[in-house]
């Protein structure tokens, strides 16, 4: 309930805050169809798509982080550890460097993310079995390779293109205008993962213990991998590589005492959505008219929060 309330509050705040202030009354009458004019246009054409995109991306990244932390049995796992952000970044920046337009660059980014998913999977899954350490290492090595090529592209790119590239690499929601698909994915994956939460709890005991308790381990791991990749690719395609959300949100919930995956999964999706929505609202209003990359804000807000919770933990 707390996270549902936090989500609603973050969405409302995101719709109210901006260069043109909107009151609660104006927002209510706009959403209920009783208002028109500039406020209606600001809310529906500008803020709602951005706020909805931020929420969906945050929820998807946090969900992917929670799932990958179970899959890889590694608390440091985040949505980008398997090379998806590296592949997407390389595709998008490569297309930008070649002078292709925005839509083509976005498509190249999506293609790069999918290539990363299939390449890392193909290199890790052999003979109907996979070694999770090999999966993790393959992802990390793939990411490092892509990172090096991205650095090369940034070095060679024309100066005018560099700022846009950096914004995308740090996460940029300003161009995210069609969050429908991301919302559909968020709701579907959160529901699926919640229904599967009993198996996630058992899987957190390790592969052998999970197998001895009746979890079909390989099938469950493949489902988690596909779900986490789908969530990450959707978010990256919409808003670039927003860091930190997928790593810290599941940990914040655990540090707050939410450890059962029945609550952790929906809680993570809601808290991740709320966190990114608040971070994006801050990113576009704190130094207005200057907008700072939302990935910077997620780190600036997230680091002290996690350090505080860790310090208070016995």
């Amino acid at each position: 309930m707390f996270f549902a309330g936090l989500s609603a509050a973050s969405l409302v705040l995101g719709l109210l805050a901006g260069s043109v202030p909107v009151s609660l009354g104006q927002l209510w009458s706009t959403l209920t169809g009783g208002a028109s004019g500039p406020v209606h246009d600001i809310v529906f054409a500008i803020r709602l798509p951005r706020v909805a995109s931020a929420f969906a991306c945050g929820g998807l990244l946090a969900l992917a982080g929670a799932l990958l932390q179970v899959l890889l049995r590694n608390p440091l796992a985040d949505p980008y550890v398997l090379g998806i952000s590296g592949g997407a970044g390389l595709g998008l920046l490569g297309a930008t460097a070649l002078g292709l337009g925005y839509a083509a660059a976005q498509a190249a980014g999506l293609a790069g993310a999918l290539v990363a998913v299939f390449a890392v999977f193909g290199l890790s899954f052999r003979g109907g079995e996979w070694n999770l350490y090999r999966l993790l290492l393959t992802g990390v090595v793939f990411s490092s390779g892509c990172g090096a090529l991205i650095s090369l592209l940034l070095t060679l790119a024309p100066e005018v293109a560099i700022k846009g590239m950096l914004f995308w690499l740090l996460g940029d929601l300003s161009a995210a205008v069609s969050p429908g698909w991301a919302w559909l994915m968020l709701v579907a994956l959160a529901l699926l993962a919640t229904l599967y939460s009993g198996a996630l709890n058992v899987l957190s005991l390790g592969r052998n213990k999970a197998a001895s308790l009746g979890v079909p381990v390989l099938k469950a791991e493949l489902l988690i991998y596909v779900a986490a990749c789908a969530a990450t690719v959707t978010s990256v395609a919409l808003a670039g590589t927003i860091g930190f959300v997928g790593l810290i949100v599941p940990h914040v919930l655990r540090l707050l005492g939410v450890t059962d995956y029945r609550w952790l999964i929906p809680g993570t999706a809601l808290a991740g959505g709320a966190f990114l929505t608040l971070a994006d609202t801050a990113a576009r209003t704190l130094w207005a008219p200057l907008q700072i990359p939302v990935g910077v804000l997620t780190a600036l807000l997230g680091v002290p929060l996690v350090l505080l919770l860790l310090a208070r933990r016995p």
Binding site: R73, P75, T194, L195, S197, G198, A199, N201, V202, S204, L205, G206, N208, K209, A211, S212, L213, G214, V215, P216, R254, T259, D260, R262
Partner: protein
Amino acid sequence: MSLSARALSLGFGHRTVVKHLAVDIAPGQCWAVLGNNGSGKTTFLHTLGGIRRPLAGSVVLGDCALSGLDAGARARSIGLLLQEEPLEFWGSVLEYVCLGRYPHRRARLRPAPEDEAIARAHLERLELSALAERALASLSGGERQRARLALVLTQQPVYYLLDEPLQHLDLRHQARVLEHFAVLAAGARAAVVMVLHDPRLAQRYCDHALLLYDGQAPLAGTSPEVLTAANLERLYGIPVTL
């Protein structure tokens, strides 16, 4: 319905540690598995529990090959206490022990009240009731081992496969755990197979024994037949007095 190993060969990597093992384990029996480090005790238990494939041979539960059995049905019949588990579980002791009911409640999101009652009864039996709400990660090694035993008991299988159940336990808890599993097997509705390192404990609590000689033919039978000084001296390579 018995759990049978048929012409089983076990190994890891390119090394075969157990060859041609045939053993029938039936409810009512309590087995001790003894052998040197690396002789295949854990590998045997994992194979018998269906979480590892043998190099050759098969494990059969009743009339069904274990490899053809649904994972849930297998877990309702066979419970496995592992020698090692990752320490990443964030929840409470009660939440951890309740996971033993997973094979019985797969379709339901939350444990039923009777599942929690079963878990609490086993926590009580293992003197962990006062720690039920504590984080599992905050327990000592011995307390955690008792929580792991409580989880296997909460699973309520027919076959209890216990890999070194006494590790980290003090003397009193060692005796209580062994007595409980011996009584459980004597009730004829369950069978217990446990890896032990002390032949005297095996002799006292187990009516059957399996000796795994490194790479040689294993020896299985009733405790009086198998647990002799001569067999144990050949097993450990040192003089043994029983």
